[in-house]
Symmetry: C2
Subunit: 150 residues, 2 copies
């Protein structure tokens, strides 16, 4: 990923290109696996410059607000983050919570009438199921399902 283009997209969005912020953005662009904040924290801190947890969260929030990064909430798990590159939908694994991209295709929007006076901004599709790592093993039946490492 070209460092200069990262710098430009940050500054183009009114964000200063600090080493820490650059690190978060660059990591997200190089790792499309939808990491959690904790994973980003760990990965970034194996390199330089190191960041504190608060800085990671601050920068993720700024990047999301600037529209450069998308945050995806998953039931019962930590949020995951995703550099907005090509448009795509999301596949969420019901078992391990991992997120993968699904090739983009147009989805019809709800009729204006059914929305009333609400303002529609975005329309996103979440596909749920079992990822390839989880599928062969099928569904867990244990009542209190334990988290699974991603």
């Amino acid at each position: 990923m070209d460092p200069e283009s990262i710098r430009q997209s940050l500054e183009g969005s009114g964000l200063r290109c600090t080493p820490q912020r650059y690190g978060v953005m660059a990591f997200l662009m190089e790792h499309a696996g939808h990491p959690t904040a904790a994973e980003i924290f760990e990965a970034v801190n194996r390199l330089d410059p190191r960041s504190t947890r608060a800085t990671i969260y601050n920068n993720l929030r700024d990047l999301v607000q600037a529209g450069l990064v998308r945050e995806v909430a998953v039931e019962g798990r930590s949020a995951r983050f995703d550099a907005k590159g090509m448009r795509h939908h999301h596949f969420v694994c019901d078992r391990c919570g991992s997120i993968e991209d699904v090739e983009w295709y147009e989805v019809p929007r709800p009729a204006a009438g059914s929305l009333g006076k609400r303002v529609l901004r975005e329309c996103e599709l979440i596909v749920r199921g079992l990822c390839t790592r989880c599928a062969p093993r099928g569904t867990l039946s244990a009542k209190r399902r334990r988290r699974v490492d991603t």
Copy 2:
């Protein structure tokens, strides 16, 4: 909402119809506003029988697992819960995090090829924007946006 039919849907799913569990289920069926666990806890405990937080969470988990209730995760906010009645999509307010139902309509599923060996279970649409309470006031621009009461 007919008490007997609630009892039956619980038992039909292999869940004992305890007063606490019944209370959670009945509350969700009577309040389609997608309450959070905390809201359910509060509401249920204004009546009898009272439940502890753990019981509310246990029952919500059991109900979700039994397929009677849906959990909806929202970025940066607590999970919300929804008795599965008629099929519908969800509208999430970007500003206050509230969830409203959007009339159901069929959405095309991703091509099998693009999913690879993943198992598709469900396909849900999330519509984002501003709810009627938030829309007139427009988008907040404050950098550190505060939570808003729902």
